[in-house]
Structures are given as C-alpha cells and as structure tokens.
Amino acid sequence: MRAPAGASDVRAAQAPARRVLSDFVADPVAVVGLALLCTVVLLALFAPLLSPQDPYDLAQLDIMDARLPPGSPTPSGGTFWLGTDDQGRDMLSAIFYGLRISLAVGAASTVLALLIGLTTGLFAAYAGGRVESAVMRIVDIQLSFPAILIALILIAVLGQGTGKVIAALVTIQWAYYARTVRSAALVEKRKEYVEAARCLALPPLRIVFRHLLPNCLPPLIVVATVQVAAAIALEATLSFLGLGLPITEPSLGLLIANGYQYLLSGKYWISFFPGLALLLTIVSINLCADRLRDVLNPRLQR
C-alpha cells in the first residue's frame, strides 16, 4: 500500500478498490463464482417471494404429497420441481428458506468473529510485549485443534440453540482473524506513517483504527471470505449431526439430515438437492476467495 500524497487523497483512496475490481473480473472462473454467489444471496434474500409455497405454513402442506419424486404435479396444477419431503413440503421452497438460514448464520458469525478477532489482533500487535504473547499463545493453542472438535466441545458445554451455534462459530473463528491481522499489523506498525502519527501525538485508538486498520485489510478480506464458507459448512455439519440449529430453523444441514433415512430406499432427492445447494454456495465463495487472494496479494502486484 502506498501512502496517499496530499491533494490526490480521494483518488488514491478510490483507486485500489477499482483496481481490485477490474483485476477480479479478468478471470472468467472468478466471474462465474461471483455470479453464482450473487444468485445464491439473492435467492436467500427473496426466498419468501420466490418460493412456490411457504414450506413452514402447515396449512399449505398436505401429507398426501409426501416423498413425491422431482417433477411430480402439485394438487393446484403446479410442479414439485425438486420433489417433496416426508411432510409433503416442496423441496425447492425448503431449500430457498434453508439457504436463508444457512447464510444468515454464516454471515452473522463471521461478522462477530471478525470484529472480535480484529480488535484483539490489532491491539495485541500495537501493545506488544506480554499482552501480545499471551493473546497469541491462546490463538496458537486454539488453532492446533480442529474446528469440528472445538465446535463439539462448545456445543456439549453450552447446549443447543441458534445463539449457541453462532457463539461456537465465533469462538472458533476469531483466532484466524486475530492471527492474520496481527501479522499484517506487525509489518505495518514499523512503517513511517505510523511513526508520523505517533509523533503527532494522536491517541492510540485513532492510530490503531484510522491508520493501522485500513492497511491491514487486504489479507483480512481474503481470510474472511474463506471463513464464511467454512462457517456455513461447519454449521451444516453440526445440524446434520443433530447438534446444530433447532428444527424450528431448518438450515440446509437439517434438510440433508431429514433425507438421510429415505436415502436407503432410493428417495435421493430429499438429501441430494439441499446438499447441491450447499455445495454450490461453498464453491462459489471459495472461487471468489481464490481470486481475491491473487488480486490482493502484494507480492503479485505490479
């Protein structure tokens, strides 16, 4: 990151974002990923408007429609494009609503974890000394255990529920952000602009958030993108194991778990399509993350 110079402040601040965008779209695979991701997000946002039925309005469900294969006609003359589950629920609608819940949980936990990890990491780097080594010690120990294990410990300890799943995801993820932002901040804080800000006797809070933070953002954005995908996958896994979200919040993982018992009798669609939706969501995010990593990598910048 070059330091902005005098009058061209505004231009210099806008230019990186535009450069990143134009670099990003130069790769066709990344564009496909981004388009897919936008579609998924839009489907989730407008699920109530796009779904053929409200899958959780019991008045709209008919048990006679249970476990119909994809393409079966509905009683009202429509089509169950992706079949129905054991309650006679349209799978397409259930997937739209499930996406909504999966994405919301993934995004909420990522934002919270980002805020906590970022603040901790920045202050650890800025403070240095004992504070820093204590925080990084915790981060190291935590990161040496696999996420699924920590999640299960936390669920066993906290109990089940939406809030608790988010709490578990945040506890797992903050460490990744803390480590990333700290290593970026360690490099940045030795640079002259930080020294200059210190000489001006600016308050530490201002130095940390206005001067250090913006320059630590690029690696953080990449990690955050990867972690959204990881959070969504982990929530789905927990829900599949019956330890995640409650039945009142049917995420994609829960839909897949529902279809598990029917899979062995050849009724594949109840598990298959929600899993496909989950897969497409995660792939699209990972494709974007892969490209962002290249675009934001200072070593590859011209």
Binding site: A156, V157, A229, G259, I282
Partner: protein, 325 residues
C-alpha cells in the same frame, strides 16, 4: 534434545490439565443429569439415593477433585448410560477409529503426492488445471453429504458396497481389525475414501506449491546442468526437499482426521469413538464426553510432540537453531 523433550512434555501436561478443568466445569454445568438419568416417577427417597450413588450431590469442585484423582489413576468415571468405565468404552472403540483414520490418510498420501507432483510439474497443462479444480472441489464438498452420496451410488443404486458398520473383524494381538478380510475391506473403503477427500485436496495443493517452488531453486538447475535424468532430478532432488513440510503436515493432520472421523462415523454407522461422542452428547452422558475429550487432547498433544521431534530429525536446520537459541 532431552531438555527440549522434557520442556515440551511439561507444556503438554499443563495444556492437558487446563483442558480437563475447562471441559469438566463446562460439561458439568450443562443441564441437570438428575432429570435425564433418573426415572421422573421415582420416589424422592429413591431419587436422593441415585444422586448420591452417582456423586451428583457434592459441590462441583469436589466432583472435580474426585475426577482428577481418578484420572491420574486412569479412571475417568463411569458412564451414566452404559454403566461401564468411560475410559474402557472409549478404548474399546478406539481401534475402529484409528483403523479408519489410517486408511483415510493412506489414501490421501498415495493419491495426493503423485497428483500434486504432476500438477506442479505441469501447472499450465489441462491435466494440471483439472487436478487443481478438483482440489478446490475437494475443499468445498461437505464431507457428510459426500458420504451420503457415496452410499446412494454404491449401496443403493449399484448395490456393490455395504452402507454401514464395520463388518466382521479379526483379532490381532487382542485388537479387532477389519482390514484383513475381504468383507472388512468392502466395509472400510467407502468411509475411508470419504474421510480422505479433504486431506487429499490439501496434500495436492501442498505438494504442487512445494514442487513449483523447488523447481526454481538453484540446486535443481544445478542437477539439470549436471545432466542428470529427469526422473532422478524429480524423485531425488525435488521430492526429497518438499517431503519435509509434507511429512509435518501429514503428522499434524492425522489428529484432525481422527477428529473429523466423528462425522464420517455418524454417516456410515462406523462403531468408533466419534460416534460414541455424538451419542453421549445427545444423552448428556457427561463422564464419556469428558473422557473422550481428554483422550483426544492427549492424543493430539502426543502427535504434535512426535511431529516436532521428527521435524528436527528430518531438517538439520531446525536442530541448529535449537542449539544456538
């Protein structure tokens, strides 16, 4: 070296102790096992007798002290549900998990290193790109869903592989194993493949990145300038140098494979300790949860220690730094 081993072992003990405290306090603060384990219709007197029998009437710290005293002696409490020692329950299921994890790691290594090497040598070829695209997919595929799809294709549609369980086992030195019989292999192959996918993708990426970096090094150029055959340059000069980080990662990832086996075991009803954990969490069988976590933490610490030591044996530079510092 001995100083290093002792220091690392002491560190490990501290982590183990802290974990036991955290896990115990957490798990024992959740819910009320009395409501779950004792018949609600029971007489008050009967209830009290049951509470006393399970030791649930004592203060938390006293329960922990009892637990810790037992833990040092290898007694991690009795399962509320199975009424058997928790440690014994876990150790009975450990061979199944270790067998599954080893098979998965074997698949990941046997496929991942050659594929990664190939993709690293030909980064711009169609096959190289296809391998990389496949590895992104491997990272993105939700493990449990892939497991379901494997069952759907190979058990339901084609009917060639069994969908659950471990099949008949053969005792080797008193430990039941499946990999010695054909039937055992047929049960093992699907769960092991499922568990291997994620690590396979990781190993492909790691080997590819290492190969690409190694190819630019002077010693590779020098080996080529000497007129060595391509096979010798790749197998001796490139592969041996990239194996150091790969061996470390394989070691460290073995622990995470054991942890991830929880999911695979649930999908394929594999009778390992991961499935026991899930069942215990659902039943709030706290002694088993605590015992499982302590066993796996101990396993992790042991693996990390071994990998660290192995690393310093493999890479002389690490030892030098250790001696200087």
């Amino acid at each position: 070296m001995p100083v290093y081993v002792i220091r690392r072992s002491l560190q490990a003990l501290v982590v183990l102790f802290a974990m036991s405290l955290l896990v115990f306090a957490g798990v024992y603060a959740v819910g009320n096992p009395v409501d779950i384990l004792i018949n609600p219709q029971a007489e008050p007197l009967e209830r009290e007798r049951a509470i006393a029998a399970l030791g649930l009437d004592k203060p938390l710290w006293e329960q922990y002290a009892t637990f810790l005293r037992g833990a040092v002696a290898g007694d991690l409490g009795r399962s509320f549900v199975h009424s058997a020692p928790a440690l014994q329950l876990i150790l009975e299921r450990m061979p199944a998990t270790l067998e599954l994890a080893s098979a998965a790691m074997l698949i990941a290594v046997a496929l991942g290193i050659p594929l990664g090497l190939w993709a690293g040598l030909r980064p711009d070829s169609v096959s190289g790109r296809a391998i990389m695209a496949g590895s992104i997919l491997g990272f993105s595929l939700p493990t449990f869903w892939v497991g379901l799809m494997l069952i759907m294709v190979f058990s339901v549609m084609l009917g060639v592989l069994p969908s659950n369980g471990r099949g008949p086992t053969v005792e080797v030195l008193g430990v039941p194993v499946s990999f010695l019989t054909v039937e055992g292999w047929r049960h093992l192959v699907m769960p092991a493949t499922n568990l291997a996918l994620f690590k396979l993708a990781l190993l492909i990426r790691l080997t590819r990145a290492g190969t690409r970096e190694a190819l630019l090094q002077d010693y590779v150029k020098f080996a080529r300038a000497k007129g060595l055959s391509n096979a010798r340059v790749i197998l001796v000069h490139v592969l041996r140098n990239i194996l150091i980080p790969i061996v470390t990662v394989i070691g460290l990832e073995f622990g995470s494979v054991i942890a991830f086996a929880i999911v695979t075991e649930s999908v394929f009803a594999w009778p390992g300790m991961g499935k026991l954990l899930i069942d215990s969490i659902n039943l709030l069988d706290r002694p088993v949860i605590v015992a499982y976590l302590l066993v796996i933490v101990a396993l992790f610490i042991a693996i990390n220690l071994v990998v660290d030591l192995l690393y310093s044996v493999l890479d002389p530079r690490v030892r030098l730094q250790e001696a200087r510092g």
